[in-house]
Amino acid sequence: MGMKFFGASVKRKEDPALLLGKGRFVDDLAMPGMLHAAFVRSQHAHAMIKSVDAAEARKLPGVVAVLTQADLPEPMRDRTLPLYVPHPAIKQIHMPAPLAKDEVRFVGEPIAIVVASSRYIAEDAANMVVVDYEPLPASVDARDAILPGAALAHKGAPSNIATQTPIKIGDTDAAFAKAAHVFREQFHLHRGGPFFIECRGLIASWNAATEQLDVIASSQGSHRFKRTFVDLLDLDDNQVRVVTNDVGGGFGPKGSFYVEYAAVAAASMATRLPVKWIEDRAENFVSTQQERDQHWDVEIAVDENAKLLGLRGKLVHDAGAYMTWGLVLPWIAATSVIGPYVLPAFQLELIVAFTNKITCTPVRGAGRPQGCFVMERMMDRVARELRIDRAEVRRRNFIKPEQMPYKVGLIFRDGRPVTYDSGDYPKAQALAIEQSGYEGFSARKAAALARGKYIGVGLSNAVEGTGLGPYEGATVRISTSGKVVVFTGATPQGQGHKTTLAQVAADHLGVDFADVSVVTADTGTIPFGMGTFASRTAVNAGSSVHLAAIEVAEKAKKIASELLEASPDDLEIKDGGVEVRGVPGMRKTFRELAYNAVGLYGFSMKGDRDPGLEATSYFKPEQSTYANSTHVAEVEVDIETGEVKVTSVLVNHDCGRVINPLIVHGQVVGGVAHGVGNAIFERLMFSAEGQPVTTTFADYLLPGATDMPRVTVTHTETPSPLNPIGVKGAGEGGTIAVIAAIASAIEDALSPFGARIAEMPVSPERVLELIAAGKARAPV
């Protein structure tokens, strides 16, 4: 088939409803008799619960139930959430229970759930529940947590160390022994969060008569939620259905199943009524999972020509209180250090520590921004020390396109060796430099400085493992209406899957894009699904739609050939039907074919066909496909206030073939905004006792419209050889490398003060400290 929709900037199917105020977000829905939940949450980072007294709360008019851990149904009561991603290097694991039993391990951990006739009353009652705590010392900073004698995040645990394991390529000792130069840096990547504008939420409806649990959730993976409910309640597959409608942003943490969801289901089972819980922003700051929070101490070895010989050091990753995603984050971070460069030797001691803070799980980039930041900062260090242009240092170290597929020598988080499938990294950087103001910037910088302005430019490169397995399925069906429906477990949160997947299907079936509906994230429509995370949907679900649509087209031709008594080779798919090529009258519509495919009551099925004009495919990628990007950022720093203004960002992005340029552009620009937040604004802070101190959008700043520069996005299209449509993931590439590029630009702007940027975000206070320190070293 010719590609009419694949590759076109088709306007999104999702938009009209959302623009008219007719979205269906969880809190927009109501069920008859529905109750509203609020949680009693831990006020302490670490404490024993001596008692929970809900007597007064239960008396409040409008309160229907208060459930503590002891009130949870069997078998959920004594279970913890499942570990999504086991790993042999995990030596100690802690998982959260649906409601805390006798110990709480972070401020915000749920202790009891209150259900009432309104959320207002539920919150009143939650405030009336008296919890008697015995506070315990808290483990707060991961660097302290791994020391002998540290306060334990989990009482009675042997230590706070979840994992201590080496990650290795080649012989670092030999590499460092022959190095012309060795440089050491310590980095701290601070904690940030997803901060989707729609907080988490769900409605759980337990039907006692049919013994079925129906859940509508704001999620990134309906099927994962279903499996978790099945696990916690020992239900059969037919007893749980999870549906995800519109989702107001996810960015990773809506992919996790949270203990609140189990408690809401328990509350529905206890009251036999639907129960809705919508997280409010105050809860969001103390209970939705977060990320980054890593301490790196690394050395880089280079030869006299700035060629990389080795990199070694230590990564201390703060897991927070629990580890629902196993080692995914530190592992991705560690393997993302290499980026687009030839690194002959690498040794990293990976230490994962439990602390009494919110659990860390993937947030846009998922460890990749940290790994990228470390390598790119080291590249800049080499450039500065050896007085070589930053782009040139990178140029000397790139993996060349002729080296593809390139085996890095590590095992990725997907269990497969990190093997870059395709990409042209030198070209990506060359294009970015050519299209940005990188060349010739020094003249602009000098001119600005003469006017008292401090401007800087920075660049960075990243390679990003995308399209992770194991699969995402799609059923493509031509229904008896003659229209096409696609069912998939992919669970979008704004990425426009209903549009892009319809584009893929429409081309193969010769129908208009408008005649394809895409049903996402309803466990009642497709048995297996993984959900949307790790920039994986275009690769997995896109390929499955492609394969299934081809199969449906073949099936349609087969049936038509029987009905028209023509060879399938003489048939073509055209305008919602199948016709004999060159004979417009000789035609069967999809509607006729779909009717025929269903069969006639009481008659034998013709041929050896399975019923229905439909096909299901589960595309199973053999490994991740690696996207890449180069970012060039410019900043202006106000040396009086310390304010950093990002004045321009250019991204050269390669995510293979692009299904919808409009959507990919939006993903990249939006990703850049997240990275700008990480680079200069977003930092979640905790007191020494583990109390969160950034708990509103006045304390924790998200980038606003006036903080964002215009972003220029250019594309290099290196098709992936690993899937039939040649695509790579696009959801995170905007974020990953821009953080390092901005850090590089700030360092450049502050070069008169000899400042070095070794953390993110870089706050105005930090900028002023760096300037003051620079002035003290060498008075300007």
Partner: protein
């Protein structure tokens, strides 16, 4: 906290040109009243502390945060929500269509607030610039788009509205 009937107020107001009535206890937020009492769920709740702007509605001709107002304060008020923006035939208006054209929304959750803010801004500043528009939008958070496409949509709508005004004149 009590539901005693003496505290329940009758609220009468105009929403999207229609007279509406509902009941509200004194502490009921306007946004909850609109969403759950009147069933107008297009207006969203994002932060409940007046920062994110997802709950922005037009209140007596000016944009306002419905999470920072009580329903009781809206008694007698004239309110426009996102549900009131479409053309009379129900189709997308110029601004809404521009959002679609420029991919000014991804998840769509902040969009109702963005639309209301820009509706006011374009009404009061028909010759707006990108910089003015960004300042106008600085009270509305979007986590998906990076704002660029929203600004482009707003500028495009401004252009179209100016052109339409010239034609009429």
């Amino acid at each position: 906290m009590s539901e005693s009937s003496s505290e329940i107020r009758d609220i009468e107001l105009t929403v999207n040109v229609a007279k509406r009535r509902g009941k509200a206890e004194p502490r009921l937020l306007l946004v909850d009243f609109l969403r759950h009492e009147l069933g107008l769920t297009g207006t969203h709740v994002g932060c409940e502390h007046g920062v994110c702007g997802a709950c922005t509605v037009m209140f007596n001709g000016h944009s306002a945060r419905a999470c920072l107002l009580f329903a009781a304060q809206a008694n007698g008020a004239d309110i426009v929500t996102v549900e009131g923006l479409a053309n009379p035939d129900g189709s997308l208006n110029v601004l809404q269509e521009a959002f679609r054209e420029h991919h000014g929304l991804q998840c769509g959750f902040c969009t109702p607030g963005m639309l209301i803010t820009l509706t006011e801004h374009l009404r009061d500043n028909p010759d707006t610039t990108e910089e003015e528009m960004r300042v106008a939008l600085s009270g509305n958070l979007c986590r998906c788009t990076g704002y660029e496409a929203i600004v482009e949509a707003g500028l495009d709508a401004a252009r179209q509205l100016r052109d339409a005004g010239k034609e009429r004149a």
